[in-house]
């Protein structure tokens, strides 16, 4: 505060007429200075105070609990080192859950992304009733995941479910959706795809609309067809958005809980853990077996998995999808050499 107090005193002396008294800083001025200085902190404080209590503190405390044997009656724990982590990593159920989570994640994210890009490309055309069609793809998004899960559990019911009835109708045996692991993963992935495809479609559509239309015009003039245009112009321009969509669906997809939870009435991932996911397993450890130390360790393992897969996906997307815009044909050094040569030429021309 010393700087603010001295500054107004020096300012008037700079003025050429020394007749004015050095002004004493008034209270309202001081108030205004404080206002300027502390307001930002005041504005972010409601968020950060709440965030610290319900967001940051639990994350840190989960780490602490994960090294403890938590006693529910006394609501306290004693440190036992990394035993909880070791226990989880040696459970066959954990590895089954990991396999199921990955399987459901792949079955939901890959087809979903391809479908979303395709539908976005269709919506990107100059269609009539644009708002109506855009809204129509988003409709499933407002249906709660639990509701979606219940609807599709009935659609994929082993006996008399809609899908198996149709399959029987065309002479194929029904698929045991609730017995076969892969079949159950397909059913659960369908629920995820139903709810999220439209959402991601709109994100990708927004990115497509941002692409400069001149590129397409130039490509048409150069004789590139729609398919070539899509792969050479549209897809590379979508890269940042694709990364965003893939990262967010990784974070969400690996936490999947609602849909597998309601896939049967017991909610424990099937009799043979066919669709037990990591989040389901975490719930079962924490609130089925009431072992909070292990549940906390499980939560941290899930977080690490999400970070790892997120980074891997980031890397894959970066390499697979070509860079935005044109690749520079010359390296910087080549360009500099060419520039020097050109300058030399010009000088020689001038001196002649």
């Amino acid at each position: 505060m010393t700087t603010t107090a001295t500054r107004p005193a020096t300012r008037p002396t700079k003025k050429d007429d020394g007749t004015r008294q050095p002004r004493v800083i008034s209270f309202s001025q001081k108030l205004s200075k404080w206002d300027l200085k502390f307001s930002p902190y005041l504005y972010i404080s409601p968020f950060f105070i709440m965030f610290a209590i319900v967001g940051l503190f639990p994350i840190g405390y989960t780490a602490v609990i994960s090294f403890m044997d938590w006693d529910l009656v006394r609501n306290s724990g004693e440190f036992i080192g990394i035993d909880q982590y070791v226990w989880i990593l040696t459970q066959p159920h954990f590895w089954t859950a990991l396999r199921n989570t990955f399987s459901i994640f792949l079955l939901s994210s890959v087809p979903q992304l391809i479908l979303a890009i395709f539908i976005a490309a269709v919506l990107d055309r100059n269609i009539r009733a644009r708002t109506f069609w855009r809204m129509s793809v988003l409709l499933p998004f407002v249906v709660a995941p639990v509701a979606v899960g219940l609807i599709f559990t009935a659609i994929f019911a082993d006996n008399f479910g809609l899908v198996n009835t149709w399959l029987n109708g065309i002479g194929i045996d029904g698929i045991p959706w609730h017995k076969d692991p892969l079949a159950s993963h397909v059913a659960i992935a369908t629920m995820v795809n139903y709810r999220w495809t439209g959402y991601n479609t709109l994100i990708l559509l927004a990115a497509m609309q941002a692409v400069n239309r001149d590129f397409y015009e130039a490509a048409t003039v150069d004789g590139a067809g729609p398919v070539r245009q899509f792969f050479s112009i549209t897809l590379p321009s979508l890269k940042p958005t694709l990364i965003f969509v893939i990262i967010t669906s990784t974070i969400g997809g690996l936490q999947i809980f609602d849909e597998p939870r309601v896939f049967d009435q017991f909610g424990r991932g099937g009799a043979g853990q066919q669709w037990l996911t990591i989040a389901l397993y975490l719930y079962d450890i924490g609130w089925g077996q009431w072992n909070f130390g292990r549940a906390a360790a499980m939560a941290w393992i899930l977080f690490v998995i999400i970070l790892l897969i997120g980074l891997i996906n980031l890397f894959i997307t970066r390499t697979l999808v070509r860079d935005e815009g044109l690749h520079r044909e010359l390296t910087k050094r080549q360009a500099r050499a060419l520039g020097k040569a050109a300058k030399k030429n010009v000088k020689e021309e001038a001196s002649r």
Binding site: K37, S39, P40, Y41, Y43, I44, P46, F47, M50, F51, V54, G55, P58, I59, N75, V122, N126, T131, W133, R134, M135, S136, V137, L138, L139, F141, V142, V143, A144, V146, A147, V148, L150, I151, F152, A154, F160, G161, L162, G198, L202, I203, L205, A206, A207, A210, Y216, F244, Q255, F257, R261, V262, G267, L282, G286, F292, M298, A299, L302, F303
Partner: protein, 306 residues
């Protein structure tokens, strides 16, 4: 309609002096920029997508309006007459607590969305438009926490709320949801481009205090983004299942929790379960009809910046 398609004589006369008048007429510009109007294949694909979205809901309604055997009978496109009976069975079921669940969902989602909008607008304004020590670093930190799964916090939160004796109470699902890192990020992004710095400087020069500047310049500019944030937070809070399922009990559920209770009670009778699903989905379908347009533009606006 035929008069609209052929150029009226007056227009032809008026256009005589204007070079390439035809190209300047309304509509032709969008075609030039956005390509020609597509054919029926495009609309066919979009119709299929639309029907895929609607069909599961319609099918649920068909089954939900039948009786316990309706799933076993051949599929019919015409709803049965039992929807009201099934709905009454859901509403009057004592294990499900439908009406408390509906009320809990409504007021908790409303409070959560309102609180998130207020805290996010305040913090977003500070991050986007005010300079302060540590601001950029804090923002990066907030964005980074968006990658943290909600499972990472539930064990301590459960311990906290059981110490407070709040398990089974709606407060236990409202309090942890009052802030949102996404909300802060969203408002920061929006306010950064929506408010020119000159406007703030002008307000400051005119003697407005910081809070007055925030109120007259910031809040006014933030309104569209705040409305969208409210909608998304509301839908998210309404649909949230994991944490409410852990901390709430049968006596006092939210709608998704009530639906899962309904399933464990009626696992053989799909007609009642699906009638309950339709009942629980109707409020958000109504919201979608009135605010679907805003949801669409919200997603698309967020995508460009994000």
């Amino acid at each position: 309609m035929s008069t609209l398609e052929t150029t009226p004589a007056t227009l032809t006369v008026a256009e005589e002096g204007i070079p390439n008048a035809k190209a300047r007429r309304r509509g032709s510009r969008t075609i030039k920029i956005r390509g020609a109007r597509p054919g029926w294949v495009t609309y066919g694909i979009l119709t299929v997508v639309f029907l895929t979205g609607v069909f599961p809901l319609y099918w649920s309604f068909i089954i939900g309006s039948g009786d316990a055997s309706s799933l076993r009978r051949p599929f019919s496109w015409v709803p049965g007459g039992n929807f009201w009976d099934n709905a009454m069975a859901v509403m009057n079921n004592e294990a499900v607590n439908f009406w408390p669940a509906l009320w809990n969902s409504i007021y908790s989602s409303f409070l959560i969305a309102a609180a998130v909008v207020i805290t996010s607008t305040l913090a977003g304004w500070a991050f986007a438009k005010l300079r302060f020590l540590g601001g950029p670093a804090l923002l990066v930190f907030v964005v980074a926490t968006m990658a943290v799964p909600q499972q990472l916090g539930v064990v301590p939160l459960y311990i906290l709320f059981s110490e407070l004796g709040w398990t089974g109470q709606i407060g236990a699902i409202i309090i942890p949801a009052l802030t949102s890192a996404f909300g802060v990020f969203w408002m920061t992004q929006y306010l950064r481009q929506a408010v020119p710095d000159e406007l703030i400087e002008a307000a400051r020069v005119d003697g407005a205090s910081m809070i007055r500047t925030f109120w007259t310049v910031g809040v006014t500019a933030a309104r569209p983004a705040a409305a969208m944030l409210f909608l998304f937070t509301f839908v998210g809070a309404w649909n949230n299942f994991f944490w409410p399922f852990i901390v709430l009990d049968r006596q006092n559920p939210t709608l998704p929790v009530a639906l899962s209770l309904l399933q464990s009670n009626y696992f053989v009778d799909y007609s009642i379960v699906l009638a309950g699903v339709i009942l629980a989905t109707i409020p958000l379908l109504l919201l979608f009809i009135f605010a679907g347009k805003q949801l669409v533009s919200g997603i698309m606006a967020g995508a460009v910046k994000g």
